[in-house]
């Protein structure tokens, strides 16, 4: 377990380096939101998901949806490192003709399960996928990653009510609770707490963790797989911009790519 954790920690560091490098290369994008998801995405692609990177259409694969679509650079990096496509492709992010679109596009990139980028929609799509799995008696699980700001959207709560009503226990949602949205802090814009309590009252099993503690992230996914009769929610308390000192809790880096100098500085910190 300790070596496994060490390996995953190293993969997470590599993914952070990829994120910074690819956003520097593209000259636009969302560093902060990508960096806060890294442990969650690493755990999913390198431990939790039953998947075949070389066979992304494998019918029995677990499904993962990046509902906060602007965090997709983290997903692209994890997918490349997991073998879905060459890491060389990462530098084409956001360039004309690239399969790596600025937000996830179903059909454009192998392994992307839904087009997102208009916040609030991924959980409903995940419910549809999980429902289809139930109807088909398939064994796959469905995972959806949401932003905390994204939970402003009413559709998230419509979906939450439906999943609980239909006891969709093959569905797990993770909220990347980094405390920020676009124009500032969640607590200044639209109070969301008690976040876990809201989901509990909607009928979900809820567990709250430190979203950067890989051991806790893995444990939470094990717990989620074991829940019966209810969908499960992981509230991952995270730091926006995690891993790069000058990006941490600095919402300037919500939607601004690092300059060449900033990339070099960040990579030195992530060495």
């Amino acid at each position: 377990m300790q070596t496994r954790l060490r390996e995953l920690t190293d993969t997470a560091r590599q993914i952070r380096r990829d994120i910074v490098t690819m956003l520097g290369e593209s000259g636009s994008g969302h560093p902060g939101t990508s960096l806060s998801t890294v442990e969650i995405v690493t755990a999913l692609y390198f431990d939790v998901l039953h998947h075949r990177p070389k066979d992304p259409a494998w019918a029995q694969r677990d499904r993962f949806i990046m509902s906060k679509g602007h965090g997709v650079p983290a997903q692209y990096a994890a997918m490349a490192r997991a073998g879905y496509f060459s890491t060389d492709l990462l530098k084409t992010l956001r360039k004309l003709g690239s399969p790596l679109q600025g937000h996830p596009v179903y059909g454009a990139t192998p392994g992307i399960e839904a087009s997102t980028g208009s916040l609030g929609q991924g959980l409903s799509i995940g419910i549809g996928i999980a429902l289809a799995g139930r109807l088909d008696k398939a064994a796959y699980r469905t995972y959806v990653l949401l932003g905390d700001g994204e939970c402003n959207e009413g559709q998230v709560w419509e979906a939450a009510a439906f999943a609980a009503h239909h006891k969709l226990d093959t569905l797990t949602a993770i909220v990347d609770a980094n405390g920020f949205q676009l124009d500032g802090r969640i607590s200044d814009i639209l109070e969301l707490e008690p976040l876990g309590g809201k989901w509990t009252s909607f009928g979900w099993e809820v567990r709250e963790i430190d979203g950067h503690d890989l051991g806790a992230v893995l444990d939470a996914f094990t717990w989620a797989r074991g829940t019966r009769g209810k969908p499960s929610l992981i509230v991952a308390r995270t730091v926006k911009g995690k891993g790069v000192s000058f990006m941490e809790n600095n919402n300037q880096f919500h939607g601004v790519a690092p300059t060449r100098e900033e990339v070099a500085k960040a990579l030195a910190e992530l060495a």
Partner: protein, 327 residues
């Protein structure tokens, strides 16, 4: 006079600037945004009048509904987000809370068209004009540059009904050296001509001017009109151009279904049917990329306008010949 391209501020910058000015003299103005105030520039108003500004969070349907309530209670709400989110996620609310009761709300969609760029199709708006013009009673405006966006924002504020205005992300080339006389529902003839009329709005107005220059080398004298208001359309100007030029090309950064071209075709069909060519986004979503590269990739350029103009001129000649032969 040769054309010189001079980039001005983005139309969203012009909007933000005027909105903040209006706040000083119009205490009934209340501004709401759905967590994109920095991008839409409604943040300029927030800085000066924080008590009359609300970030409702990422909840566009709620944004529109709240605006309806404020307007029903005597306030004049200006609400903004990206055009795609505001129009697509708030559409039933625009219908029920604003259009149907005909309330005085100003709806501002930024990052219109595909020139939003690298973020990709999910953040772009290629259907907002079609949606907005389908709301009974709405005035729908797509300014071409910062000077006209300033003037039209003032005009919109003075207008007592629901208005949708689309603003853009990139810096826009200046096409209006002067803005006196600019009014909602009134097209602007930027250049007169007798052979063909180029009717455009938004960023395509500059491209139309460039195209007119190039067409002149073919011996085609093309008129260029900025039809910033799609609804109500300046039907008088459109009919007059159709009659005088006998052929029209419409150009817009929007799907060809339901935008400026559709509106012009309807008007011309009623008043003076002539051949029309359409420059706009075909039946497709766009993708991520540098804005200029995207505009080229999706055919929103002077080159494309020239190409369509030549085809339309050919249609016109064929019709004239057929008529001369009694066909």
């Amino acid at each position: 006079m040769p054309l010189t391209k001079r980039l001005g501020p983005a139309t969203r910058d012009a909007y933000g600037k005027v909105l903040a000015e209006l706040g000083a003299t119009r205490p009934e103005i209340v501004v709401l945004d759905a967590d994109l105030a920095k991008s839409t520039r409604s943040d300029d108003f927030r800085k000066r009048f924080p008590d009359r500004f609300f970030n409702v969070g990422i909840s566009e349907a709620n944004l529109v509904g709240i605006a309806g309530g404020l307007a029903a209670s005597g306030k004049v709400p200006f609400i903004s987000s990206f055009a795609c989110f505001l129009m697509c996620k708030g559409y039933d609310q625009l219908r029920m809370a604003i259009a149907y009761p005909r309330l005085n709300v100003k709806v501002v969609g930024s990052h219109g068209g595909i020139s939003a760029g690298e973020d990709g199709a999910s953040q772009m708006s290629i259907e907002d004009v079609a949606l907005a013009t389908s709301l009974p009673g709405f005035t729908v405006v797509v300014p071409a540059d910062a000077p006209s966006a300033e003037a039209l924002t003032r005009a919109m504020a003075a207008h007592p009904g629901p208005v949708y205005i689309r603003t853009g992300r990139p810096k826009a080339p200046i096409v209006h050296e002067k803005t006196e006389g600019l009014a909602l529902g009134k097209g602007v003839l930027l250049r007169d001509g007798t052979d063909l009329a180029l009717i455009a709005n938004g960023l395509m107005v500059w491209e139309a001017l460039e195209a007119a220059d190039r067409l002149q080398a073919d011996g085609v004298r093309a008129a260029v009109a900025d039809l910033h208001t799609i609804k109500p359309l300046d039907e008088k100007m459109v009919a007059d151009l159709a009659r005088r030029c006998g052929a029209i090309v419409c150009a817009e950064e929007h799907q060809v279904w339901g935008g400026l071209g559709s509106a012009v075709a309807r008007a011309v069909g009623e008043s003076c049917p002539v051949p029309i060519g359409f420059v706009g986004i075909a039946d497709t979503y766009a993708e991520s990329g540098d804005p200029d590269a995207l505009l080229r990739r999706y055919g929103l350029t002077a080159d494309r306008i020239v190409e369509v103009a030549r085809k339309t001129m050919q249609n016109k000649r064929q019709r004239q010949q057929a008529r001369a032969m009694g066909g």
